[in-house]
Structures are given as structure tokens and as C-alpha cells.
Subunit: 412 residues, 2 copies
Amino acid sequence: MSAFFTSRWIEPLAQIDELAGGLPAGFRAAGVAAGIKESGAPDVGLMVCDAPEATSAARFTVSGTAAPPVQLCRQRCRLDAIRAVVVNAGNANAATGRMGLENAARMQGAGALVARVPEDRVAVASTGIIGVPLPMSRVNQGIARAAHELSSGGDGAFAQAIRTTDAIDKHATLEVRLASGTVRVCAQAKGAGMISPRLATMLCFVQTDARMSAATCDLLLSVCLKRSFERISVDGQLSTNDTVVLQASGASGVAVEPETEEELRLGEAIDALLRQLALRVVADGEGARRTGRVVVSGGDEELTQRVARAVADSPLVKTALYGGDPNWGRIVQAAGAAVPGSAPLELDVAIEGVPVCARGAHVPHDAAALAQAVSGPEVDYAIALPGDGAESEIYFSDLGHEYVSLNADYTT
Amino acid sequence: MSAFFTSRWIEPLAQIDELAGGLPAGFRAAGVAAGIKESGAPDVGLMVCDAPEATSAARFTVSGTAAPPVQLCRQRCRLDAIRAVVVNAGNANAATGRMGLENAARMQGAGALVARVPEDRVAVASTGIIGVPLPMSRVNQGIARAAHELSSGGDGAFAQAIRTTDAIDKHATLEVRLASGTVRVCAQAKGAGMISPRLATMLCFVQTDARMSAATCDLLLSVCLKRSFERISVDGQLSTNDTVVLQASGASGVAVEPETEEELRLGEAIDALLRQLALRVVADGEGARRTGRVVVSGGDEELTQRVARAVADSPLVKTALYGGDPNWGRIVQAAGAAVPGSAPLELDVAIEGVPVCARGAHVPHDAAALAQAVSGPEVDYAIALPGDGAESEIYFSDLGHEYVSLNADYTT
């Protein structure tokens, strides 16, 4: 029984062992409390790769109001060779204009100083309240203190420091057996969806001691994100600060070359890791009771994607999921709304394997048994559109009273 | 003080007088309880225009899973010359397949029989639970009984019969003074957004005794819908059954010709009527405390529309509205999410006239005074994107505990 891999939607992998913690060789990390969060909880994280030949890849929010740290990373960072990552929580440094960009640059400069690497090798990320200037003296003091606490066992403290309203822990260390040796993969994520009060961000940092090119980093990150963080929806809200970084130190000496068995196996491991972390983000959707998965099949990838998003983002579907109500009419309504002008759309719907709608019309079924089936922590929805060859899958959280309380009853 | 026009967002019109009720000349209506709703409340409505020269226009949901009554109206109805409208509440006749189409045809046939008009002059509409076959014998008995109760004062009973979970009354009768005489306009709507438990529909029926061509009906309906029902969002959920019908009997003898002062004045009156009805639908958003209005200006109509929708549909913005929280960071986040790849988007945001964000960065303001300003029943948000010439306006409801309770705690 795995402590980390708890979802039935993630296939077990023979090549993986879970460890209690610890960074891959070549990495040191720390997390400290710098007084940015009012609670006094840890809020500055520092991740340093000591290997000069480190490779990396990164992805960011596509929001038109992307925060200054995201803009800075895109413009002034060697994203293929990141050596250090500096993160603060408690303040997103978003909607902060030119001063925000200057503050992000100062964070980058301070990170370069303490990690002893060029500025363009330092990525920065922020998460927390939008529209408030960063308290830079606290951030700087935090970075300086974190530099003194860097250690190979600092992944837990780093993970703690990047959290905001997260209720569920989101970090893991895996050992992955490849044909040519064993490598370690470690990841720390934060995000209770993009739905926290004023704290609208998902961050994820992944480290490995495998030796691989920046192009391989980029490929693995791209493929794994498509199957994890790009497939989740808490409230359909794109954040201003989303940042994902994968760094490879190469310190294990185990090389992962393109199109090899090693690449496939490591990719599977990172995939499982990010999928489980993404599911934890969904499950952490602020008091969420249940996680839904919708799989839409059909003849057109763009269409299956659109219908899956519409169902996953529908407040009617989400409240039904919360209430443990197998309200399939809402699935039909949400799917139809995503394909305007196509009536009559001959779709099939099954919930937890029970057909409830065939070619657009109701199918008699045992409603009581179905209500029982949707009362567990994970609920499966399958939608078949006409045609075949394409399939889209989205994981989503429910919408309940806790979401409203956290996001509404919290006032300035 | 108007009993009907209660929103500050609707300009008073000199040519309008409100009446307590009563249909325009040439119309009779009725509403009866036929046992379709479990509650025993009225659930079958019949609207008949006795003028053979009646003109009309209609609009329907574009949902890919549009319900059989909508499909039937589109395929087998003279939408420019509707004489009678038959409506049932309590069952949407949606996701009911071929039998659903047959039942909609039976409703049309029964309506034609009792109204003594050709079948293709009868429009049908249904609202209520999705995916359950219509109880046709009850529907037919209801239509027969309604035929016996038709009267020129039946607009209130008709309005009652088309309601589902609506808590706020949504019908009105206006007298409109035109240069060549006075006409009457009457409208009945239903909809607590598209958000009722299993009852996902907005219906609106408008009658006038002005004499005008079907083309003028179509033009007026089109223009007025763009400024009313097409500008509201409760939960962004497109319904399977949305139907709007405008009928003109001509019985007043007052002609409304294209591009005349009469057309302009009547158009203004229908516009105000539908806007206030639409605002009632928003305010009825299942326990909604507050209604928001977002106006987005900029250089590109498509873009201002997209940003306005994103803000109006954002659960983060809606929960803040519910909580009376002037959380402008969420406005920035939602706007940015609607314009991917455009960072840094230099937008201005004002809430209740108070600038909070300029060119993408925070503006110092009195937060306590702003919190006070957003505690009323209507809250104004203004967003300025770069450029000018385009403007989009959307009205939206908040998202609160009552929404969750009605949509989640209700189980099968």
C-alpha cells in the first residue's frame, strides 16, 4: 500500500520505490519563515542545484495578466539551464506593474548571490495575495537565511514554504530503477486549485539526478504536464502565477538519452508523480469531498477536449458531484452547451460504468444503485460523442459550501 | 416609484406606463395545474392570439443538446406567424430522444386543436427535469382545461404556470405611448438563471397589440435580446430549453413601420421590459444576495465580450460579490485568463467608480470605503482594456451557499 499513490486512476509502476524524503544528488533546499505570511508560517523557499552542467525546462501560465515573476522568468532566464529557484508565498507579486518587475529582479539577484550562480540561471516564483507590493526587505532576509539552511534533506521545508491554503501535503521522493542504474526524482507542489482566497496559484518544482539534455527535460515536462496539471480543473480559473520547473543535476551519473528505454521509464515515473500531485491539488479544492474524472471519446480531439472542459467546469455538475447526486441531465446539458448548433447531438453517457443516456436519450437504470455508486471519493463519468479516434480526460473537484465559505466569507 | 422597474441600471422612459396586468388586445391566456409538478402547482400554460394576421419572431438555445420542443419549433413551426404557445413546467422533455419529439408534436397538435389554428402556427416549450418522458395524458388534460380558462386577464396565471424554482415574479404589462396611438406590451418570463436543480431553462413570452411585420418583430426581438437575456450570466450554463417568443396581434390598429419614431419608441419599451426581466432572472439566482454589472471597454468587440464573460462567469469573482468583498485581484486574474498570451495586459479596473488598478498595477485606495460601497444589492465593475470603440456589458449573479444547497443537497 502506497502512502503517496492513493488514486485508483494511477497505474502502479514496477520501477518505482517511494522514499520518505530527501532530494536527488546535486540538490540542496531550504524553507524559512520570513514574515510575509501574516500567520508566521514558512514563506520563502530556496532550491539550489550544485551541478554546473544542470539542465532544465519550465512552463508558465499563459494568462494575459501573468505576474512579474513569470514575466521575468520568460524574459531574463536561461530556462534550459536553471540552477536555482527562489519562491515566496503569501504575496503573488501580481498586478504590481513596474515595481513588481523590479522586485522580481531583486529576488533573482539575491538568489544568484547566495547560490553563486549567474542571475539568468535563477528562476523566481511568487504565490499569495494579488496587487500588494512585495515586502522586499523580508524577502531578502528570508533568502539570506534560507541560504544558510540549505541541505539535501530540505525538500520538506521547501515544500512547506511554498504552500498557501493547501490542506494536503504535496511532495514526494521516488527512486526509479532504470536499466543503467537508479535515479531519484523529487517534486514539491502547491495549490488548492486556483481557488484560494486571493491566492490563485499552482506551483510545482521537480528535481532529478538523472543526466539528460535540456531538450529531454523539455520533452518529458511537456508530455507529463499534458497528462497531469493540464488536465485538472478546480474552478476553471487560470492563475496569474502558475509555474512548473524541472531540473536535472546529472549527479547520479545515469544518462537518459532520447528515445531509449531509460527515457520511457523515467517519463512514466515523472508522469505518475505529477498525476498524483495534480490529483492532490484537485482533492485539496478547499473542502472538496469528491474528485471527478470525465473521459470524453469521439472523432475530433478539439471537440472531446472542449466537452470534457465544459463538464469539468460546470458548476451544475460540480454541485451534483458534491451532493453525491448522479444527475446525468447536467452532463448532457454541459456537453450540449459546448457544441452549439449541433442539435440533436447523439451522445452516450455512463456514470461509474452505468449507461444512463444513449444517443441523446435516457436509458432506464437503477437510480438508487447509481446514487450509491457516486457516493465514494472518486467518481467516473464517460461520454461518447459520435465518431472515434480521439479521447480527452479531465480531473475535477466538486463545488461545495467550503468553497463558498473560503472564497466569500473571507472579507477584506 | 415603479413597482417593476427597480434597477438603477434601467433608464426611466417617458412613454411608458405600468399597468397592474392584462394582456394586449387580441390575446387570451390561461395557466392550470395538470399534475406534472409534484407540488401540484400550476404547470401548463396556454397563450392564444385571436388575430389571424398575427406576426411573430422567436429565438432558441443554441445548445447541441437542445430539447425536442426546441427542435420541433425550429423544424415544424411558422416562426414568423405564431398564433399559439403551449408551455409545460415540471418536465423539460430534454434528452428524451425520438419519443420526446413525438410528445412535443402531440403538444403542438393539442394546442392547434384548442386554439383552432394550423399546427405549424403553434410553438411549444417545456421546462423542468431533464431525461424523464413527458406524462402526456396529464399534459393533454392540462391543455384542454387551459383552453376553457383562456381570458384577456390570464397573463398572471400563464406566468405562474411556466415557473419552476423561481422565487421572484417575472411578468409585467406596459402601456406605451407612440405618436400614432397607444399600444400594450406584456411579457412573462421564468428562470432563476439556468441553475435550478435539474431545471435548467429560461423562457420568455412577449405579446403586443401593435401592428407590425414579422421582419420588424424579428428586428426588435434581436436587438432587445442582445441587450437583455444575452447579457446575463448566473452560472454560465447554456440551457437545453431556452425559448423566447414575441407575438404581435395588430389588434390596437397602431402600425409600427420600419425606421420610424414608433419603432424606436416601442423598441425602447421592449428593451427596458426585457432588461428588467433579465435582471430579475439574475437577482433570482437561487438565494443570490447581489447582482453585479461588468462593463468592459477596449478596441475590439470580440475581446471586450470575452473578458466581460470571463469576469461574469468566474466563481472567484462571484463568491467575492456574494461576500461583499471588493477583491479586485480576482477581476485582474479573470480578465487575464480570457486573453492568454497577451501579458503584460495594461488594464484599468474600477469598482463602484473607485479606480483600483491602472495599467495593470494596483492603485492606492480606501479599502474600507470600497468594502462599504460593494455591500449594496447592485455592484458595478468597469474594466478598460487598451484601445477604444468597443464596449460589452454583462449582468451576473453572485455565488453563495444557497446555490450550493439548492444544487447539491438536493439528491435523487
